[in-house]
C-alpha cells in the first residue's frame, strides 16, 4: 500500500517535470539567454550589428561619462520615489473613500480605474496639451482673467520630470485603489464593530489596524509600481520626448535611442546591464529579508 503510493507520487512528479521542461527552456533561452547575450554585446564594440570582439569595460566607461545617462539615472530615482509614494497614498485614500458605502460605487470604481486601462501613448498626448502653456491650464486661467497665472512645468528644465509624475500618478493610482479595495473588503466586519464599541475614531482604525492588515496588498502594489518605474518610457515619449533638452530623460528611453536611432547596440547593451544590476541591487535585499522572515515563520 505505502510502496504503491510512493511509486504513484514519483511517477506524478516525473510527469510534472517533463511538462515543465518547455517552460524551463523558455526561461533559460528567452530570459536568461538574452540577458547573457546582452552582457556579451556590452563588452564588444558593436554598432549597428553585434560584433564578436572584446573591448573590456570601454562601453561602460563611455556610458558613465555620458551626461545624459547620469541625468536619466537621477531622473528615474526622483521619479520613482515620488511616483510610488503618491500612487500608494492616493490609491489608499481612494479605496478608503469608496469603502464608505458611497453611492454609485461601481461607476466611481470604473472612473478611477479607467486611466489604467488606456494606453499612455494616447493619453500622454492629451496630458501634453493640458500642460502646454500655450494651450492648456495656464492659457485657460489667463483667459478667465488671471493674467499672471503661470503653470509651465512641462517646458521648464527643472520641473518637466514632475509633470510626468503627475500624469502617471493619474494613470496608476486607480490600480492601487483596486488592490487596496479588495484588501479592505477582506477585513472582518466584526473588527469595525469592536472598534466602534471601544469608541476608536475611524481614521485611527484605518491607520493603526487596517493599514498594517493590508500588508500583502501594499507589497503587491509596490512591486507593480516599481516595475512601472524601471520601464517608464511611453509616458516620457508621449509627453516630453525626454525634453526640454534632455531634462526628462529616463534610462529606458536612453537605451531605445541608442539601440535604434543611434545604431549603437554596444552602448545600449551596457546601459541595459547597468539597469539590470541596479534593479537586482534593490530587489535582492528585499528578497533576502522576505525569505528570512518566511523561514522564521513571521
Amino acid at each position: 500500500m505505502t510502496a504503491a503510493l510512493v511509486k504513484k507520487r514519483q511517477s506524478v512528479s516525473v510527469a510534472a517535470y517533463i511538462a515543465l521542461i518547455p517552460m524551463a527552456l523558455t526561461v533559460l533561452l528567452a530570459y536568461l539567454g538574452t540577458m547573457l547575450w546582452t552582457a556579451r554585446v556590452s563588452v564588444s564594440s558593436s554598432r549597428t550589428f553585434p560584433n564578436s570582439d572584446f573591448v573590456g569595460a570601454s562601453q561602460y566607461i563611455r556610458l558613465f561619462n555620458n551626461e545624459r545617462w547620469l541625468l536619466s539615472l537621477q531622473n528615474v530615482a526622483v521619479y520613482g520615489l515620488l511616483f510610488i509614494a503618491a500612487c500608494l497614498i492616493i490609491g489608499f485614500l481612494l479605496a478608503v473613500f469608496i469603502d464608505q458605502k458611497v453611492m454609485a460605487e461601481g461607476a466611481l470604481r470604473t472612473i478611477f480605474l479607467y486611466p489604467y486601462a488606456m494606453s499612455f501613448v494616447a493619453t500622454g498626448l492629451i496630458w501634453q496639451w493640458i500642460l502646454n502653456p500655450e494651450l492648456g491650464i495656464q492659457e485657460v486661467l489667463r483667459k478667465l482673467g488671471f493674467t499672471e497665472a503661470k503653470f509651465d512645468w512641462i517646458v521648464d528644465q527643472d520641473m518637466a520630470i514632475y509633470t510626468i509624475v503627475i500624469a502617471t500618478v493619474w494613470q496608476a493610482s486607480g490600480l492601487v485603489m483596486a488592490l487596496m479595495l479588495s484588501g479592505l473588503r477582506g477585513i472582518d466586519e466584526e473588527l469595525w464593530k469592536a472598534a466602534r464599541i471601544d469608541g476608536i475614531p475611524r481614521w485611527r482604525v484605518y491607520v493603526s489596524i487596517v493599514l498594517p492588515m493590508l500588508g500583502p496588498s501594499v507589497s503587491t502594489a509596490f512591486v507593480l509600481l516599481f516595475v512601472m518605474v524601471v520601464k517608464v518610457f511611453d509616458s516620457v515619449v508621449a509627453m516630453t520626448q525626454g525634453g526640454p533638452g534632455t531634462a526628462s530623460e529616463v534610462p529606458a528611453k536612453f537605451i531605445m535611442d541608442y539601440l535604434f536611432g543611434r545604431a549603437n547596440i554596444g552602448l545600449a547593451s551596457a546601459a541595459s546591464i547597468v539597469l539590470l544590476a541596479t534593479v537586482l541591487a534593490i530587489v535582492a535585499p528585499l528578497y533576502y529579508v522576505r525569505t528570512r522572515r518566511a523561514d522564521k515563520g513571521i
Binding site: 538574452t34 550589428f49 553585434p50 500655450e134 512641462i154 525634453g243 526640454p244 541608442y258
Partner: protein, 421 residues
Amino acid sequence: MKKAIKMAGATALALAGCGAFAQGAPAAAPAAAPLKATVIHWWTSGGESQAVKQFADAYNKAGGQWVDQAVAGAEQSRATTINRIVGGNAPTAAQFNTSRQFRDFVEQGLLNNVDDVAIAGKWDQVMPASILDAIKINGHFYAAPVDIHMPAWFFYSKAAYKKAGITAEPQTWDEFLAQLAKLKAAGLVPLAFGGQVWQEKITFDAIFAMVGGADLYLKVYRDRDQKAVMSPAFRQVLVDFKKLKAFVDAGSPGRNWNDATAMVVSGKAGVQIMGDWAKGEFSSARQVAGKDFGCFPGFGPKAPYIVAGDAFVFPKTSNAAAIKAQKLLATVVTSPAAQVAFNSRKGAIPIRGDVDESTLDICARQGLAIIRDKSRQLPNSEMLATPDTTGALQDVLTNYWNKNQSADDAQKAFARALKDE
C-alpha cells in the same frame, strides 16, 4: 561572423517582440514569382503614400511586382530592415536616408551593389557629388538615391509678412533677425519652432551653413578639425543660433514639426526653418507656393544648399531572380519619368538634373536650379557623421538651446562629442 550575426538576429527579433516597434512583418515568399520586389519604407503620410505609389506603378509597368511594406517611423522602419537582414529574410530593397546609416551594412558585406545600373544610367554624371559620396563606397554603388531633400528651407507666411510690413525676403542673417523683430512687434510668433532634438539640429545646421559658411561647416563635420570647432568663428555660430531663442514661443518644447508648420499656415507665426517636406502641410491646407506662402533656401544668391535625401539599399542575396528584381528596381526608381512623378508629390527634388520640371512647384524648381551649381551643394551633416555622432551632437545642441549654458561650454562639449567617435 555570419553565424554570430544570425544568432544575434534571432535574439534581436525576440527583443523586438517586446519593443514598441513590433510591426509583425509577414514573411515574404521566397521569390516565387519572378521579379517580385518587397520594399520596406517609411513613407506613410498622405502625400508620401501618393508618392511611393508612383514608384510601385512604374515598377509594375516595367514587368515587376511591387510588394509594399510600409513601416511607420524612420527608426522603426530601419530596425525592421536590420532584423529581417540578420534574421535571414531580407527584403528586396529598403529605404535609408542618403547618409552613413547603411555604412555598417556595407562593411559587413550585407548589401549587393548596383554598379551595372549606375554605369548604364550614368549616375556619375547626372547626380550631385554629395549624393554620390554617400552612396559610392570603395568604388561601388551601394544604394539607389530617390530624392534630394534640403532640410534648411525657410517657409514664411505671406499674410504674416504683410501684417508685419515686411516686403522682401532677407538677404543676410542680420536682415533676417530684423524681420523676426518686426514680426514680434506685430504681435505674431516670429519663428515657428518645434523643440525636438532633430529639429533643433537642422535649425542649427541651417544657421551654421549660412553664418559660418561652407568651409567651416566642412572642416567641422567632415574633417573633425578640433581647431575649427574651437575657433571664434564657430563660437559665433553658436551665439547666433541662440539668438533665435528670443523669437520662439513658450509652447515650442516637444512640438512636432507639422504643428509648427501649421502655425505658419494659419498666419499665426511668421517663418519656419524646415525641410522641403513641410510643403506637404501647406498643400494639404490648399496653400500655393509663391502665392500664400513663400520659400527661400537661405540668404542671398550664393547661400549653400544642404543636400539630404532618401535612398534604397539592396540586401545581399545570391538568388538570381532577386538580384534581377533589385537591378530593375534601381533602374526604375532613378529613371527621369518616375523621378518627376515621385518627387512632385513628395515635395523633394529629383536626384538628376535632366528631367522635365514643369510639374514641380516653384520651390522645387528653385532648388533644382540651385543644385546645378556645384559650388552651392553642401552635404547634410548626417552624410559626414555616424548616427551615433549625430546623436551626441544633438545632445550637445539641445542642452545649449534649452539650458542656460554659455557658448564656450557648448563649444567644448561639441568638440568632445566630435572627438569621441
